[in-house]
Amino acid sequence: MPEEVSRRDFLNRLGVTIGAAAASAGSLVVPTPAEAQQSFQAKGKVPTTPYKTGHMTFFTGPAAVLGEPSYKGHILAAEEINAQGGLLGKRKIETVKADEAAGTDANVKELRRMKLSEKIDCFTGVISSGNTPALGPVAEELKTLTLFTDGCTDFLFEKAVPNPHYVFRVTNIQSADGVMAAIAASMAWPKVTKIAHIHPDYSYGRNAFDHFNIAMKKLSGNIQVVSEAWPKLGTTEFTAHITKTISAKPDLLFTSVWGGDYIALYKQALRYDLFKKMKVATTLAFGVVPQAIGKDHPAGVVAGVHANYHFLYPAGNRWLPNAQFVKKYYDRWKEYPTFESEGAYTALHMLRVAVEKANQLVGGWPDDQAIIAMLEGLMYAAPAGYTYIRPDNHQGYKDALTGFLVNSPDYAFPVWDLKRVITVPIRSITAPPGYPKGEPTTTYKWIEETWPKSA
């Protein structure tokens, strides 16, 4: 029987921190410039053949708003590495790109084509949570080193690839989205009890709904779902959903609508004065390129970033990797990076570090097994903070984070309120290794069974 504790105590126990002070929980040591890629001396003879990566992401369709930044992040990292002569200073990175919008059937074929026909050395990218479970097993079959940079469904490593060898994922898992929004909402608005939901009608929305509810129940006690709306992914007309939500008179609207859909949702909600009538928490309001959200967006909303990354955080010069990354990214693409850019960028740099470490051990060009051994357990100072790859399940772990939207005169679009960024060590909100599997996700089961009810 879960005990009862006060909310404050429980949040403390989770390791929740607020504000820009903590660069990244448990990682207050700022990396020295040496660690942040300086010249590297390769051991042994390294071939000069290009290193081919395949980057799959959405280039067309509604999800291209996420895919484009992912590709830009990947290219930026590749250009940086190539400027140093390539991997180990010798092997230039070449990228084959592919459109994820072609559907799972075509994506599986494309991965096979990339590996078998184009002979890629490494596969990265993938945004949709419907695609990683399809591509993960195929990558294992093909013995292709794979670094997924999104496609964050818990299902990937719980069911589709339960014992990954070649497949890694560097970004946080989906269940963190709902849990983080619940933590933020319960901290900011402890009195909230009546919740309305608007979610895109597919696995991601379902996952956000479940995990928000279970976490909220534990954090806030008696919550009540007063309204649900499940618009189809790609919906841009929300008037009826908004009216339904308002008429249910909730204290809080929680939504995981993202991309162009979210832009349409908030713009229409404004016209109905929705933001004046309730608090709003999102998982992905800041999922798109920052300039896509207008200054008309009301402040104070929990503006989620898929629990991964916002370009303002870690802020200023406290965390050099981020300051450098944002500057380089802006110089290169004339826009600010998103969590997708950071994921793709970090994935490639983690690969670089793993290759370098493996080279130091074995000399020459390390084979995939050596690179994998180095990726397992690798801790890397990424722009988002330290990112650690758990050896047992190949899942990247970094602090989950979310924040509150504010309109700052420094930017032409809304950003995070740096005084109120919330970070939680990811291990505090995901099921520990070896926890018995459950439905809908192991983390859900874990929260339900082990979190105390706080009041």
Partner: protein, 291 residues
């Protein structure tokens, strides 16, 4: 009470947009017997061009003038229609209808990518237009003024189209061609001209729909494909080729969707398809159609 009123207005608003899309689809089928699968993409073209035009001059012109720019979106879609019909569809009229369906399917694929090529992957917005209309207060509920504007545009389009088709000489020719193309042709009607005009008007309405919805929902990739499926449902319920059908179908779908969201949120998606399937089962030609 206030919710009921708001939801009625929402239904009307949604129906207005649906009607603008569906009436063109229906008109084109009625006159030319072509189910235009690229119709939704022309709706998206209307949205994109309008957003682009507004964005270009937004800082120089007063908002009320920008409203006029929405017409540019409609005009662009109409122009596209006027170009596509004679070049790509006309050669196919003697062929089985499968080919026309496939041609428009091919056009759909091309147009979707073309929009990405021209306007990039990020959504275009022009919300200044929707902000221009203040939200109004009805029975204690807040309702967006722009939505009322859209309802008015939809209603005006319905009346205008009706008057055009039933009260003008061109409308008579159009209806004659629609009822019996050979006969009309034998009586000296320039069928080629009627076809291109009908197709252009259909595209114009779709483009107008896209343009007026753009300030609210932005221009996003994939919006056309979604719109196409909804327009299909509308014309299937109302009856392919019937303008009354498109209007009634739009009102039904608008109301059903609103009710679905309100009371059957879980199956919002399936409800529409099921209704379309049931209507088709009972009346294959739709409520107002002729088989």
């Amino acid at each position: 009470m206030d919710t009921l009123l708001t939801q009625i207005l929402n239904s009307l608003f949604y129906a207005s947009i649906l009607f603008l899309i569906a009436c063109g689809l229906s008109l084109v089928y009625g006159v030319m017997r072509i189910v235009n699968m690229a119709h939704g993409s022309l709706y998206a073209v209307g949205a994109y061009v309008a957003a682009w035009a507004v964005g270009l001059v937004a800082s120089y012109l007063h908002v009320s003038l920008l409203l006029v720019l929405l017409l540019i979106g409609a005009a662009a879609a109409a122009l596209a229609g006027a170009l596509l019909e004679p070049t790509l569809l006309r050669p196919l009229y003697q062929r089985p209808e499968e080919y026309q369906l496939l041609m428009t399917f091919g056009l759909l694929l091309i147009l979707e990518d073309l929009m990405r090529m021209v306007w990039g992957p990020y959504p275009l917005t022009a919300s200044a237009l929707s902000e221009f209309f203040p939200s109004i207060s009805v029975l204690g509920a807040t309702y967006p003024g722009y939505n009322i504007f859209v309802i008015v545009v939809g209603g005006a389009a319905a009346v205008g189209l009706w008057a055009f088709i039933y009260r003008t000489r061109f409308g008579i020719l159009l209806r004659a061609t629609s009822q019996n193309m050979r006969m009309a042709s034998a009586l000296g009607v320039d069928v080629k001209r009627i076809y291109v005009q009908a197709f252009t008007i259909g595209c114009l309405m779709a483009g107008l729909g896209g343009a007026v919805v753009m300030p609210l929902s932005g221009a996003v990739l994939g919006m056309g494909v979604d719109a196409l499926i909804l327009a299909f449902v509308v014309v299937v319920i109302g009856g392919l080729g019937s303008l009354e059908g498109a209007l009634v179908g739009a009102l039904i779908v608008g109301a059903v969707r609103t009710l679905g969201i309100m009371y059957f949120a879980e199956i919002e998606l399936a409800v529409l398809y099921l209704i379309a399937a049931v209507v088709l089962f009972l009346r294959p030609a739709g409520l107002f159609g002729r088989a």
